[in-house]
């Protein structure tokens, strides 16, 4: 299997693209990779890329987006010219992490490094602990009664569960976007301004900050004339982008996303995925998704989790099976369970 970061012949763009869009096909290993970009001109990737026919492989939703000026469409992971390092540099690092809810061990023995300015996807069947692990990456699990984390989770080298660390500061630096869009019952403007206000950010102009956050979340043009209106008037997809904008406004380093598109229609989903590609330039993103195609489309690296039954008690607990570049996970996984899951044989 060729490494997609080094080889992307223009002639195979179309087929590899189709392969990336269909997880079943990618697992057979026919594509050149899950990561070539389709829009080299807009993306600034260089001259060695896409023929116009590649566009015919875009989904309907993407086509709609594609026709809008100023929108770039990416259906795959990191652009081929951007080298993905072999090992993630570990802005967040999990060392032997166990997560408990009371006596129940939801996640067992996870060792996982997340790379700076990378998109990492956590995939796996229901109950495999991927959301639980995600919530322990910014101490959101602290809010669940009885939840506790063993092992070490570090952020930029510092143990985020150390007694002297303020969980509020952790959450400001590592933001989170949830499954269901959860705008506050306030105006669009106040939704964005809430974070900077409560965290006491020094802001020279709140108006500018709101505009910047909404622009980065690709929502500004749609809402700039109704900033004072209730956020509840927005569509589901717009609400989710508002929640992303709200997270961006407090200037975090990492954004955790817990199935951010599972409540959205396909067009809104494409927009969020597109947005994630733009955001990767400035932020590190970790996304939990049930949708394997989504992981194939957006993620640089993918971690596959599964649930194992404990031999003694029979309790099921989540374990990390395999963690590698997305192209490897989807084309030539090392573990049979990964292969089975990717090809749809279980989960």
């Amino acid at each position: 299997m060729t490494d997609p970061t080094t080889t992307t012949p223009a002639t195979t763009q179309g087929s590899s693209h189709a392969a990336a869009a269909s997880a079943g096909a990618t697992s057979t290993g026919t594509g050149t990779g899950a990561t070539p970009a389709s829009e080299s001109g807009i993306d600034g990737m260089g001259p060695n890329n896409t023929s116009p026919t590649a566009d015919s492989n875009l989904t309907d939703g993407a086509d709609i987006l594609h026709q809008q000026p100023g929108m770039t469409v990416h259906l795959t992971g990191r652009a081929a010219s951007e080298a993905l390092p072999e090992k993630p540099n570990g802005i967040i690092r999990c060392e032997d992490v166990n997560v408990y809810y009371g006596n129940f061990r939801a996640v067992t023995g996870v060792n996982l490094d997340f790379g700076f300015n990378e998109i990492t996807a956590l995939i796996g069947p229901s109950g495999c602990g991927k959301s639980t692990l995600l919530r322990s990456l910014n101490r959101m699990n602290d809010l669940v009664e009885g939840a506790r984390v063993e092992g070490k989770v570090t952020f930029q080298g510092a143990d985020m569960y150390a007694p002297e660390v303020d969980a509020i500061e952790v959450r400001r630096r590592i933001g989170m976007v949830f499954q269901k869009p959860n705008p506050f019952p306030k105006s669009i403007y106040d939704n964005i301004a809430y974070g900077p206000r409560v965290t006491g950010m020094k802001v020279s102009s709140m108006d500018d900050l709101v505009e910047e956050a909404l622009t980065k979340a690709a929502l500004w043009t749609e809402v700039k004339d109704k900033l004072k209106q209730s956020a509840f008037g927005l569509s589901g997809g717009q609400q989710q982008r508002l929640c992303i904008a709200r997270t961006i406004a407090v200037k975090p380093d990492v954004i955790l996303m817990d199935e951010p598109c599972s409540a959205l229609d396909p067009i809104a989903t494409v927009r969020i995925e597109d947005l994630m590609h733009d955001l990767r330039k400035e932020y590190t993103i970790v996304i939990v998704t049930h949708n394997m195609q989504q992981a194939a489309r957006v993620a640089d690296r993918t971690a596959f989790f599964t649930a194992l039954a404990d031999e003694g008690t029979g309790d099921r607990t989540g374990v990390l099976v395999e963690y590698a570049k997305t192209s490897k996970i989807f084309e030539s996984p090392d573990d049979q369970r990964t292969e089975d899951y990717i090809s749809g044989r279980f989960g």
Partner: protein
């Protein structure tokens, strides 16, 4: 006309029998019975209201609002009782709402529900809401005696008794309002780096204000109609001055009604009916306000 596929079934809209489905004799008897129950209770309410209005309409005049109680019904009015009710209910609201809301916030947002003492407190708050009103009057009496207060018929004493009475109701309705704020809102706020306190103060509480207001108004309207706990405190029935402070003697509308109905003269009965009309009107307005607030300002998640 025949249907497209003939399976021998009757077309929709045609009953096989006059007495099938929801029109079996049993169902019809049950329906008549529950209608009769409703009519029965509604009839008595109607009779009560109509007779009150007939009795009191003539006395429902300006002098009811301006005159003090007197030995002759023609010169008597409920002015001190109206002002006294306003004083007592106002003081009750000021004493009780902040306390009840704070207690509810603690129980709902901060108390660790796994601790047994918090569960005991929760259970007791539920139980307290069902305790007879007069018990709170006795409790207030005991507290005032303990504090060495000689004259217990004072506005603050009445407010204390009524406050104890409605505190559980306010706590319960506030908890309901707080609980109706989705957990996602709290998570969204915390995920932005807000503290627990900021989340409660800036998200949860504003979103539950309509529910808290509705519950509080309903609780206060209950307090407005109470007489028993105030009678235990030895409420006055013949006041020739306006209550004008927390330590002032007072009477309230229910007590005035209670006193007037026990008099033999027909004129006092009419005055009682007129005061009842006023009290009823106030209760309708308060409950209407509560419904209005709920419908108009409640956030739909």
């Amino acid at each position: 006309m025949t249907s497209i596929i003939d399976r021998g079934t009757t077309p929709l809209g045609h009953r096989r029998s006059k007495f099938s489905g929801e029109r079996t004799p049993r169902a019809l008897i049950f329906l008549v019975l529950i209608w009769a129950c409703l009519a029965f209770s509604f009839l008595f309410l109607l009779i009560l209201i109509v007779t009150t209005f007939i009795d009191g309409a003539d006395r429902f005049t300006l002098s009811l609002f301006t005159e003090y109680p007197a030995s002759s019904p023609d010169r008597a009015g409920a002015r001190p009782a109206i002002i006294g009710s306003a004083w007592v209910i106002g003081t009750t609201a000021v004493l009780t709402i902040p306390l009840g809301v704070a207690a509810a916030i603690h129980l709902e947002e901060f108390a660790d529900k796994r601790k047994w003492y918090n569960r005991v407190i929760e259970l007791n708050v539920q139980n307290l809401a069902a305790v007879p009103a007069i018990v709170y009057g006795l409790l207030a009496l005991a507290v005032l005696s303990f504090l060495g207060v000689q004259n217990k018929n004072i506005v603050i004493g009445g407010a204390l008794a009524l406050g104890l009475l409605i505190l559980p109701v306010i706590i319960i309705s506030t908890r309901e309002a707080i609980r109706s704020v989705p957990i996602e809102i709290r998570q969204g706020s915390m995920a932005l780096g807000a503290s627990k306190w900021q989340t409660v103060w800036r998200q949860v509480l504003p979103a539950s204000v309509p529910g808290i207001a509705t519950g509080s108004i309903l609780a206060l309207s209950r307090a407005l109609g109470e007489a028993a706990p105030l009678l235990v405190l030895g409420a006055l029935v013949f006041l020739s001055f306006d209550p004008n402070g927390l330590l002032s003697g007072f009477t309230t509308m229910p007590i005035q009604i209670f006193d007037w109905t026990s008099r033999p003269q027909a004129g006092f009965q009419e005055l009682a009916a007129a005061t009842s009309i006023l009290l009823l009107g106030l209760l309708v307005i308060m409950n209407g306000l509560a419904i209005f607030i709920r419908n108009r300002f409640q956030t739909r998640w």
